[in-house]
């Protein structure tokens, strides 16, 4: 482990070759006079091109963990490194930059902009990255084509099926070539046939070299990953490699 480089500028700094490194993470909420520990001393690492599922019942702290991994929130205590960046101490704007560059979100309810076309939805992260229009258009189109929606670019979300919407969301998540693809119950709002399609897409993306973290409460979905972390009462209960 090499940690001399505290500011986390390059991929070589930070702990080892791990893409994500969580060390003794605590997340505590103050509920009146009582302290509620959503995460207690959580530590784990994720390497490049891993396919990881985080599973746990509701209230186990897996949503809190997902928000931390996704840089939507900061831990109360502990260190969190992502791709060589120490994000646990970052300001809101720095976190926004990390979310833009390092993380691709896929949500249960898709979270697409209803009034925007598929293409514009996919372009969104590139707009905030400050990319020029022509380049942005090409890159978004390539990303949509990669999820086989190249012929649906001008459709709005309400003109697409659930599976197609989720694929737009995946295209959006991947358009910036993020370090990790972070999916929160990605099949939760889909029927079983479409769910299987989406899971196949994740497997393909994994085999293309993407790092995927899947948060779910369904064991059958988690089983498709190569590694499963089970979380309960804010602690890692099990961390097993299944493939």
């Amino acid at each position: 482990m090499d940690e001399q480089n505290g500011n986390g500028k390059s991929a070589a700094s930070g702990p080892g070759e791990a893409l994500i490194s969580m060390k003794n993470i605590w997340k505590t909420y103050q509920m009146g006079t009582e302290e509620l520990h959503a995460l207690r001393d959580v530590s784990f690492e994720v390497r490049r091109n891993e396919y990881l599922a985080i599973i746990g019942p509701s209230g186990s702290g897996k949503s809190t963990l997902m928000n931390l991994i996704g840089c939507l929130d900061s831990p109360t205590k502990g260190e969190y490194w992502i791709n060589g960046n120490l994000v646990s101490d970052m300001s809101d704007d720095e976190l926004a930059r990390i979310r833009n560059k390092e993380i691709g979100f896929v949500f249960q309810t898709f979270n697409l902009l209803a009034r925007a076309t598929a293409l514009h939805n996919v372009e969104l992260p590139l707009i905030y990255a400050g990319m020029r229009a022509a380049e942005r258009h090409d890159q978004a189109l390539a990303s949509l084509t990669a999820v086989e929606l190249g012929d649906r670019v001008t459709h709005r979300p309400n003109e697409l099926s659930g599976g197609q919407r989720q694929r737009v969301a995946i295209a959006r998540a991947l358009v910036n070539n993020p370090s990790i693809l972070l999916a929160d119950e990605p099949t939760g709002a889909l029927d079983s046939k479409t769910s299987i399609e989406i899971m196949h897409l994740f497997e393909k993306l994994h085999s293309d070299g993407n790092t995927i973290i899947l948060v779910t409460h369904e064991p059958e979905i988690a089983e498709r990953a190569h590694r499963v972390i089970t979380i309960r009462d804010g602690r890692i209960e099990k961390d097993e490699r299944i493939k």
Partner: protein, 419 residues
């Protein structure tokens, strides 16, 4: 910088999308701004139009002209005071005395004989037509030297015609149109209260602000007669207006001399106010400007109120919009929007909304000023649309700050969960 303009352009595009998808709401929101801008356009154009016309009209009297009358000259509100009405009349001798002053080139009286001996209106007729509302003015041959009337046909009357009280006259453009629309009036006779006058000259139409077309205020609806010939129409005529012409570049000196002389002649005691008034083109224009400045101030207040109400409407609708779009804000933050991005997005949206309102107001205001300009002199000064547009954008930016700041501060996790 390129990235910044790029983002700005994106935000502008998004703002227009939002406006388009909420047409009715957007329209209702901007009504206040629209009305405010229309007010600015209309009032400023009318004020500027009147100002320009007044200037033109007064300048047409000549930059060396000094008007002298027993009552106050200029724009007045209400009836003259009792003191003013009781003032003694100016006389022919007053007008002649002014000619002796070193700074005065010439001066002429204008004797008003528009109404007859018993106060009845003077009747003018020719070629079977008859009218009562022509202004009749008795004057001296030196009127030619004042260069305040332009002769387009014929000649002025001579000193000998004036001395002989000859029955000759010059007619204004409107008088010609009334009696001799299709032929030259020179040499024709016109009957004034039963006396026949020979027409020897015709005058050019006068630039006029309001009241053209033959009414009492139409300056071209005038007949000029020799002073003493006019006195024969109305022997007791005493309503005299004097026009003096200063030597070139000596306007103020001439005015001082005139006032000093008239104070002596009219026996005004030391320390008392003049019992007559003098005016120059500039003094009338200045007087007009001080009045329009007051109107302009009232305009600023009225339109500010309109814009304020519009601004509060914008703030209200933006707050609703922020709440409605909480989830959108969460999504944007999740994919990398910074606080400043969200702030900018909503500010630009508010500015676009009111700026659009401003443009609508300018459009409607422009059409209205065009309509007004048909009946009334009006022109839109360049600063009115520019100021109106920037004020409306500014209103959006100012009243959009709070909603935009609220949006920027939303917590991404909470926002993504928002239903």
């Amino acid at each position: 910088m390129k990235i910044a303009t790029n983002q700005f352009y994106e935000n502008l595009k998004m703002a227009f999308d939002t406006l388009r998808s909420n047409k009715l709401r957007s329209f209702l929101t901007i009504i206040g701004v629209v009305v405010g801008v229309i007010t600015v356009m209309l009032i400023s154009s009318i004020i500027s139009g009147i100002g320009l016309a007044v200037e033109k009209q007064v300048k047409a009297f000549g930059t060396r002209s000094i008007f002298i009358y027993k009552q106050e000259i200029g724009i007045r509100f209400g009836r003259p005071s009792r003191e003013e009405r009781m003032r003694p009349d100016l006389t022919l001798d007053d007008a002649l005395a002014l000619r002796e002053l070193s700074e005065v080139e010439t001066s002429v009286p204008f004797l008003n004989v528009s109404s007859g001996f018993f106060g009845n209106r003077t009747i003018v007729s020719a070629g079977g037509k008859q009218t009562q509302n022509i202004q009749l003015s008795g004057t001296l041959p030196e009127i030619e030297k004042t260069e305040t009337q332009v002769l387009i046909e014929g000649r002025w009357f001579t000193q000998s015609e004036s001395d002989a009280k000859s029955d000759v006259c010059l007619i204004g453009d409107t008088v010609k149109d009334t009696f001799f629309p299709y032929k030259s009036a020179i040499g024709e006779t016109i009957e004034i209260n039963g006396r026949e006058f020979r027409i020897i000259g015709q005058l050019q139409k006068k630039e006029q602000l309001v009241g053209g077309g033959g009414g009492n205020n139409d300056e071209s609806n005038t007949i000029f007669l020799p002073f003493h010939a006019a006195l024969r129409i109305k022997p007791n005529a005493d309503d005299i207006f004097v026009l003096a012409i200063a030597k070139p570049g000596r306007l103020n000196e001439a005015r001082d001399q005139i006032e000093d002389l008239l104070r002596v002649r009219r026996e005004v005691k030391f320390g008392q106010k003049n019992n007559f008034s003098t005016a120059t083109a500039d003094s009338i224009i200045d007087q007009f400007k001080s009045i329009t400045a007051g109107v302009a101030l009232a305009m600023v207040v009225i339109s500010s109120i309109g814009l304020m109400i519009g601004g509060i409407g914008v703030m209200n609708i933006m707050l609703v919009s922020v709440t409605e779009r909480t989830r959108e804000i969460g999504i944007r933050k999740a994919v990398g929007a910074k606080r400043s991005d969200i702030l900018l997005q909503f500010l630009i949206e508010a500015g676009t909304l009111t700026g659009f309102g401003g443009l609508v107001g300018l459009g409607i205001g422009w059409i209205l000023t065009l309509l007004i300009s048909i009946v009334f002199p009006s022109y839109v000064p360049w600063w009115a649309p520019v100021g109106g547009f920037f004020a409306s954008v500014g209103i959006g930016l100012i009243f959009g700050i709070w909603p935009a700041w609220k949006a920027a501060r939303l917590d991404p996790i909470e926002s993504l969960r928002y239903e």
